[in-house]
Each structure stands twice: as C-alpha cells, then as structure tokens.
Symmetry: C2
Subunit: 351 residues, 2 copies
DNA sequence: CTGAAAGCGCTTACAG
DNA sequence: CTGAAAGCGCTTACAG
C-alpha cells in the first residue's frame, strides 16, 4: 500500500506538503501547482488514505470534521418480526451511496441483549462517524443517541416528539394518490382494506388519513363503513371473509385498495374464486415495495421506494456529519404510482 | 475513554506491562498476580481497546494474528433479484455472533459497479480482518478473494471446484427428510412440485437428488412423471395449472412436496378451491425459512435454518482467522422437520 | 509559503 | 521478569 511518506519521497517534498494537499481548507497553503502535482501523483500511484490512522488521529484533534468513512446502521427489530425486506432494500441503497463517499456501512442489530453496548463501544472507540437508525424509534432512543454526540439520521417512521434528522416516506401522499387515481376513473364507492391494525403502525394511520382527506375532497363516498380490517394476516381461515365483507354492501364498491404489502395477490385470487371480475366488477389497487412479487403481475399499485429512503438517509447523514450544525431536517420521499391492469372505469350500471 | 496509559499510571506500572497483560501469549511474561491485578483494574475502569490503533499497528507487525474486530460481508446479488430474506437472516445471526467476539460487521454489496474495488480498498487499508461471502460464488471470485490474502468463508451454496471454507445447508437431507416422513405415514405416490428451474439453483438440484435417492430406497413410486415444474413464479395465470397437473394422474398422488419458499400456501388455496381436501385427499409438505408466513399456518414442513448458517459462518471465520493455517472446512447445517396439520396417512382406498 | 516535529493508542523488539 | 523506546500513517500546531 502507498503512504503519504512514499509520495513525498518520490516527489522530493515534505510529508506534510502531501498531507496539506489533501486538506485545502487548512490555514497552511500550498501553491496551486504544487498541490495539483501532488494530487496527480497520488492518484497515479493509487494512494488510499489509511482509515485506521485517520481514526486514531481523530481522538487527538477532536474537530477533524471532514472524516466520514465508517457509518453504522442500527437495526431495531420489533420483537415479533424477524425478516424485514424493507431493511435490506434501504441498506443496499445506503451502502451504495456511502461507497461513492469512500465510506462503508457497519450493521448493528440492537434487538438482542447487549446490542446497545455495542453501539456505545463503537461510538467511544471512534469506530463509526455517524449512525443510520431503523425501527421503532422514540424519544428515549433519541436521547441515548444524542448522548453519544455522533450525528444520526432516522430511516422511516418514528415516534419522536422532538425534531430529529430523518428520512421517511410520505405515507399520506400514498393514500391520496390512490384516492385520486380511482376518482379520476370515475369510481365513487371505494373500499379500503387494511391488515391487522392492532400493532398501530404509523404508516397505517397516515396512509388512511391521506386517503380519507383526499376522498372527502374528491367527493368519494367514504364513511367508516367502507374501511374494513381484512384478517389477511391471521392465517388462511380468515381470508374468505374479505369477499363476504365486500358483498355486504349493496351495491358493492367498484374499487378497493389493499393497503398492505404483498396482499393484493391473495385478494385478487379470492375475488376470482368468487367469480368477481377484476377490473370488470371491481378495480383493485395494491400497495407494494418496488421489488415484491406483485410487481410482475401488472397490478395497478402505489409503490413505496424504500431504497430511496436509504439513499436520502445516507446523503443527509453525510451532510450533517461534514457541515456545521444546523436545524434538524425531515426529508420525505414521494411514493410512485404504477398503472397496471387491475383498474378501469366502473361499469356504467354500477356507478 | 480509558487508555492503557491511564491504567498504567493509576497502578504505577509501565504502559507495556498493561499491554502485556492483554497478550499472555507473548514471550515477555508478567507474574500471574500482576497480570490479574491489571486486568481487574482495566475491567473496573471500563477499558475498551481502541480499534483504530490496533489496526494501525497491524500494518507494522504483519503477524498480529489475534486481531479480529471488523469483518466484511460481501453480498453478491443475482441481477434479477433485489430483496433476499435469506441474506438478512444470516447477517443478523452472524452479527450477533461477532458481537460476542467484540467484532462488528461491515456490509458490502458488490453487485453494483465498483463494488469489488471497495472490497480491495478495505482489504488493503486493513479495513477488515476477514470476509463472509454470500451469493453465486465461483472459482473466479474465490481466486480474487485469495489474492487479497484475508481469510474468508462462503455462506450457502457455491459453484467452486476447489476446496473452500464454507457453511451451507444440507439440501439433500431436506429432500430425504420429506421422503422419509411421507413414507412413514404410508404414502407411496408422492408428487414433487418445483418452481421454475430455468435458473438452475444448486439447492434445487440437491434437494431433488436427496428426495429421489431416499424415495428409491423407501420404495416410493417416484419416476420422472411425478416431478412437475409448477409455474408458480410466473404470475397468476399459470397457477391453476398445479391442480390440473396433479389431476392428470389416476389415481392421484396422495402427497405432494412444494419445494420452494413461500409457495405452499398458494398451492393449499388452489387445492381447496378445487375441493381437494388437505390432508384428507392429499398431504402437503412445505419448504420454508423459519420466519416465513407459512410458519404460522401450521403446515407440515421442512425448515431451512439460514440464520444458523450465518452463525456457523461467523464461528468458522473467527476460527480460521485466529488459528494457524489448516485445510479448508465445509460445514453443513441440517434442516429441521416441523410436524403440522397438512400431512396425514393416505385414505385407505387410495393407498 | 514550507518543513520539521509532536503525538493519537497501541504492540513488540530490545535493552536492562 | 520489567520498562523505556520505536514506530504504524496520519493531521496539525508551530517554528522558520
């Protein structure tokens, strides 16, 4: 591996001249020519700064502000969930963005005993320059992170009452988007199928609120009775209830929104098994990650680009880590509409 | 943060005495008493070795063999796959195991342009002490890894012709397990439902081979005709074909094995929609990760504990990184049988 | 504008 | 058996 010393020797300059060439913001100035010369040579020789040396020196000069080569991802899983496709999608994209910045991503699952002590250890030994945090984050956790004095960005929804740096999906916009698209097609009776809401996820409430507000504005017929909790998560027995729930209405809704990942396919099959045509009898709108299976099946859907959340999170963390203190920022990522074949205008006699 | 120097000052010993206390294998020996005293004090003060300093010094003394605090996970995604639940399950468990060893895990996705250069950079700048590798690994990739001279362990199936350190599931045992369980219940006509096999995954071939071999031994009726490629992956249209494929046999098979993740539920619903009772008319065996949805639905199934692969991979990497050179080891993890309600003895008149 | 020097925390060869 | 010293690669205060 190539060191600054070697570059200096090769060019017949001092080692500090080489170091200064990489830090143009420092008070000591090199002539432009000399600096360029050093940088070109460094590039040609394939110089890579030694991360460990940088980290070490950081403990000496606290205000080494421009260091950003190791970032941690704190994964706070909910107890009852083991695999989380959202997490991996965000992580891949965040890692990709960090790679551009010559930084790498350390994964820490704090949902196990002793998880937080690892976070503290990495912080104290300068193991990382900042944190991305994903999971059910609240004020207590934010307090803990603040005490460590490293910059951090929350990915996804959170329950904090104080302002924090975070990147999240605009859930309300997802709900609005659905209402707008079905309204434009001419639908008025739109059913909203939820998963089990006992856990009280934030996205569930926000999506529904967005849908409701837009539906009201657009003049859809959308009282409480159109909002059904479909027991799609509780095993197979409950599933046929979706059809009977839809059939209780007379006339039936002409459109339905399945507001949970990976469930529209099941509803589609249940409808077909009951000889309800999609989109002939009822239009169906799905809610999906860009990568899930339904994508291939040409459902009309609102897509939640979680990988974009990861990307924006990486960029925001880099920004707050390298720039002087500023107010907490909340970045929202817009959902995307994907037109498929499961929506169409309502039947003339039905609308 | 506490340093060795501070501990030394506190105890009135030299700094090197403290360092030696942490490295009992070195030639210079401390008295047992003194060593204990130093270690106790270090513990009491909450001493944490500074990783960066350790890494830095490693570039000086190459044979610092006992360092193991930063490990990389190389994620080689297949182009056509974006989210991989297996990867996250393994990673969580590996990270957990590394935490016990005071090490942390850096995630590197090499499926993007420039991915490998990051691996090289981390290797050259002593950014990591070893690699876990997950994805379609072949000899070319192994050659690349060997050149970097860091220990590495492959997680999951691979296509290498040379011996390598790896941890994988015993896929053949999964196939055998299914054959044994249905045979014990008295079944003779057993259908084997595959997903699309165009991609030629290794686990698909090995699982089938294991099933075939055991079926032959156990006297099951299992010619080529019992092995069907169920187009479960190609969208909704192909799905009803599963039922017609099963019905082409006369008499029908009394048991069926659905040999891909997350598909048994779909087959179950298709059968029910066609008034074929499970397990009355046909027993159904699923193939799942311990975390997938079917787990809740009480299917009889063979479970593939990928998290255990991650755990064993972490342990193996630690072993080869800290111990003198030894021959490549291949660790296999056994699948687990979970008895559910979708299997039973065949109907008397049918068997 | 430029270079020599100090020192981050640690490990280990070397001298007492 | 023990301690003083060198030095990993780097950044920056300080002296020319």
């Amino acid at each position: 591996m190539i060191t600054q010393k070697q570059i200096a020797r090769q060019l017949g300059v001092s080692q500090s001249a080489v170091a200064f060439a990489f830090h143009p913001t420092l008070h000591a100035h090199l002539s432009q020519d000399k600096r360029q010369h050093i940088l070109t040579t460094a590039q040609r020789l394939g110089y890579q700064p030694h991360h460990a040396a940088r980290r070490l020196i950081r403990t000496r000069f606290r205000r080494s502000t421009d260091q950003f080569d190791q970032v941690g991802l704190i994964f706070l899983a909910r107890e009852d969930e083991r695999v989380d496709p959202v997490c991996l999608a965000m992580m891949c994209e965040a890692e990709h963005e960090f790679s551009r910045l010559q930084a790498s991503l350390t994964f820490v699952n704090v949902s196990v005993p002793g998880g937080w002590s690892k976070v503290d250890r990495l912080t104290q030994t300068s193991g990382v320059d900042g944190w991305l945090v994903y999971g059910p984050v609240d004020d207590a956790i934010v307090g803990r992170l603040r005490r460590n004095r490293l910059p951090f960005v929350i990915l996804g929804d959170h329950r904090c009452t104080q302002p924090v740096n975070c990147v999240r999906l605009d859930n309300a916009a997802a709900g609005r988007m659905v209402a707008q698209h079905v309204a434009k097609l001419g639908h008025r009776r739109v059913a909203y199928l939820r998963g089990a809401i006992s856990r009280g996820y934030i996205y569930q409430r926000e999506t529904l609120d967005g849908f409701r507000a837009a539906a009201r504005e657009l003049g859809l017929d959308t009282g409480e009775r159109w909002i059904g909790e479909a027991p799609l998560w509780v095993g197979d027995e409950g599933r046929p209830q979706v059809v009977s729930w839809l059939r209780q209405f007379d006339p039936m809704p002409t459109a339905a929104f399945v507001s949970e990942f990976d469930m529209a396919g099941t509803v589609f099959r249940l409808l077909r098994a009951s000889d309800i045509a999609v989109p002939g009898d009822i239009s169906l709108v799905a809610y999906e990650l860009p990568s899930l299976a339904t994508t291939n099946q040409n459902f009309s859907r609102v897509e939640l680009p979680m990988s974009e959340v990861g990307r924006q999170g990486a960029l925001l963390l880099h920004q707050i880590a390298t720039q002087p203190k500023q107010a907490a920022q909340e970045v929202t990522v817009a959902p995307r509409w994907a037109e498929g074949e499961t929506t169409g205008p309502p039947r003339a006699h039905a609308s």
